[in-house]
């Protein structure tokens, strides 16, 4: 308990407190000073500005859209499908296909995004457009016309591996007898998935949904590299990217550390609230229920 407590304190609580404090100051490169006592405490002013920020609403809904779709279709959905498929084929083949799905995760982001940019580039350079040409289809400027589709695909392909590994090991740890029993009891392979395997994956599902929601909420580097929040004003800007832009990479050369921290604090709040809700929905307490054994 104690070592874990120290870790949480050092790497979560203390940074959060610092960020919360920063979010209540006007710290920015425009008024930067090395004398911290001159830093002005401005209370909730940054939050008031945030609430009235004309783009905040759009960025907020962008984030929800992005997390919801990436999570459900890829980080959980496709991860589950890949795990189920690769555990129902010969072991070697299963291992091979899972290894392929790990590649996006272990490829350096810049290289990975370069590959995607090359794929979706405009005709005549883009690979997809070359195929479109060969097949006699019209060519597209994907980065401009379909930014969201590719933001989700790019992140989704990376996100599959985590859930896939967790789900696969959970499926493989289900006792063989249990799986055989369900076939003898009369289920087809699909019914076995529906009535036996999936219910037994509840705990790993909770874990992956929770963990991946939070990591998607805070992840922005692929979007930064692929679209940088564009095209146009904030078309694919998500909350964490906005915090980064405000605090560290303002378009106008003015890094607003205080204001960016306010964005970050909102993200922390959302994360904590979501984690608590997930625990409730999946009835965590039931998973650790007291046994009621007595002798026959």
């Amino acid at each position: 308990m104690l070592p874990a407590g120290i870790l949480v304190l050092l790497f979560f609580l203390i940074p959060v407190v610092i960020v919360i404090y920063l979010s209540m100051t006007n710290l920015a490169s425009a008024n930067f000073t090395s004398n911290l006592s001159k830093m002005e405490f401005i209370g909730l002013e940054n939050y008031r500005i945030l609430l009235n920020d004309q783009f905040a609403k759009r960025i907020f809904f962008n984030s929800i859209f992005y997390v919801l779709f990436t999570l459900s279709m890829f980080n959980v959905g496709l991860a589950l499908v890949v795990s189920l498929l690769t555990t129902h084929i010969p072991r070697g083949a299963g291992f091979f296909f899972r290894a392929i799905w790990i590649l996006p995760r272990v490829t350096a982001s810049t290289l990975y995004i370069l590959i995607w940019k090359r794929m979706i580039a405009e005709a005549p350079f883009g690979i997809i457009n070359q195929f479109n040409g060969l097949l006699g289809l019209p060519t597209y400027n994907y980065a401009a016309d379909r930014p969201w589709e590719f933001v989700i695909l790019v992140n989704g392909f990376i996100g599959v591996s985590f859930g896939m590994i967790i789900f696969t090991s959970a499926i493989e740890s289900i006792p063989k007898d249990l799986l055989n029993a369900s076939l003898v009891d009369g289920s087809s392979l699909l019914q076995r998935i529906r009535y036996v395997i999936l219910p037994l994956l509840r705990w790993p599902l909770l874990f992956v949904v929770t963990y991946q929601t939070l990591s998607l909420l805070t992840s922005f580097e692929q979007i930064l590299l692929l679209t940088n929040g564009g095209p146009g004003l904030y078309r694919t800007e998500v909350w964490s990217l906005a915090a980064y832009h405000r605090a560290l990479s303002n378009y106008f050369g003015n890094a607003q550390w205080g204001y960016g921290s306010a964005f970050a604090v909102v993200l922390v709040l959302i994360g904590v609230v979501l984690a608590v809700i997930y625990m409730r929905v999946f009835r965590f307490s039931e998973l650790v229920a007291e046994p009621k054994v007595e002798v026959l």
Partner: protein, 359 residues
């Protein structure tokens, strides 16, 4: 339902699970598969259940070859050694699961589950999860789940090996009675001889993936066809001695340099037909300590078993296991005389290891 296995073989890559197993199980018969760990008992059951596809050979249910029939179309009930209850379902849902898959109407499901659970003595546990049951209760749920769908064939894979000795004894009787009452063809896998002997109509003894014998318990015990079976069945095991059997002055004598035994003619005659040495087999309970016994020896070890003392007696160069009355207070080092019930001796060919009496 009649089950026939014909040259059934299962290989896992290079590993042989079962090889060339052929046997038939009659309608309503209770057959035990008896054999040491790793001999292919579970593999055979899983092939009958349809989980494994045979590498070669055939499985017939009545006249139908079922090799390619998926498990859900076989109507087989199985009790696993680990019970394999669904941990996320209540006892009720565990029992109702096979019925739900068969699309039995909801009301009938409830009735049949309740009826089966009551028969198993677990009627009051229906809302529990398996994790909230004792081992014995779980065993009953597993049995109930196998029975509730009224299967044509019941398969048991060492269902009692996780129970304590007393519970095992009573459950043994219950399973046997239940099977007889319902008349379901049953195959029961065990490596416990006593279980096989007490429960089964016939026992298939399997070793190293091969069928060694397939007979009634009485035949296996009293009329073993091979040296292996004679030594395998029975605990403590049968004693074996090398002897020569001759006809001498109208009587049959089995001799070696330490002793001579008079053998009744119906057994002696068959044994004497073999020239040279043969193997004589005699069970420990067919030898008794008696002052006027034909054999003389020295007691090497005494192991009290409770009801009897198991004593190891050195006779000439061989050691015999003998069951003796504890009241005789025999001690290691004592000289004793032994009487052999020669009406119960077995004879085997030394080379072929086949019985000279029963073949």
């Amino acid at each position: 339902m009649e089950v026939t296995l014909e040259n059934l073989t299962k290989k896992f890559g290079n590993v042989v699970g079962v090889e060339n197993l052929s046997l038939d199980i009659r309608e309503s018969e209770f057959v035990a598969f008896l054999g040491p760990s790793g001999c292919g008992k579970t593999t055979t059951l899983l092939m009958i259940a349809g989980i494994y596809k045979p590498t070669a050979g055939a499985i017939r249910f009545d006249d139908r070859v079922v090799n390619q029939v998926p498990p859900q179309d076989r109507n087989v009930g199985m009790v696993f050694q680990s019970y394999a209850l669904y941990p996320h379902m209540t006892v009720f849902d565990n029992l109702a699961y096979p019925l739900k898959l068969k699309k039995v109407p909801k009301r009938e499901q409830v009735e049949r589950v309740q009826r089966t659970a009551d028969a198993m003595g677990i009627g009051q546990l229906l809302d529990r999860r398996p994790g909230q049951l004792s081992g014995g209760q779980q065993q009953r749920v597993a049995l109930g789940r196998a029975l509730v769908k009224e299967p044509d064939i019941l398969l048991f894979d060492e269902p009692l090996s996780n129970l304590d000795a007393r519970l095992r004894l009573s459950t043994r009787g219950e399973i046997k009675q239940l099977q007889k009452r319902l008349g379901i063809t049953a195959i029961y896998v065990t490596h416990d001889q006593v279980e096989a002997m007490t429960m089964a109509d016939r026992i298939a003894v399997i070793n190293l993936g091969h069928l060694q014998a397939y007979d009634t318990p009485e035949d296996l015990y009293d009329r073993p066809k091979t040296l292996f079976i004679a030594g395998f069945v029975g605990n403590p095991p049968m004693n074996f001695l090398n002897v020569e059997v001759r006809r001498e002055e109208g009587a049959f004598k089995a001799r070696n340099h330490a002793f001579a035994l008079t053998i009744p003619p119906e057994r002696g005659e068959k044994a004497a037909s073999q020239s040279g040495e043969v193997v004589l087999g005699i069970r420990p309970e067919d030898i008794s300590v008696a002052p006027e016994g034909e054999l003389e020896g020295e007691v090497a070890v005494v192991e009290p078993l409770g009801r009897d003392d198991l004593i190891d007696v050195r006779v000439g160069e061989s050691v015999l296991f003998v069951l003796a009355d504890p009241h005789l207070r025999i001690r290691a080092g004592d000289k004793v005389r032994l009487h052999v019930d020669t009406g119960r001796v077995q004879f085997f060919d030394q080379k072929t290891e086949q019985s000279l009496l029963w073949s």
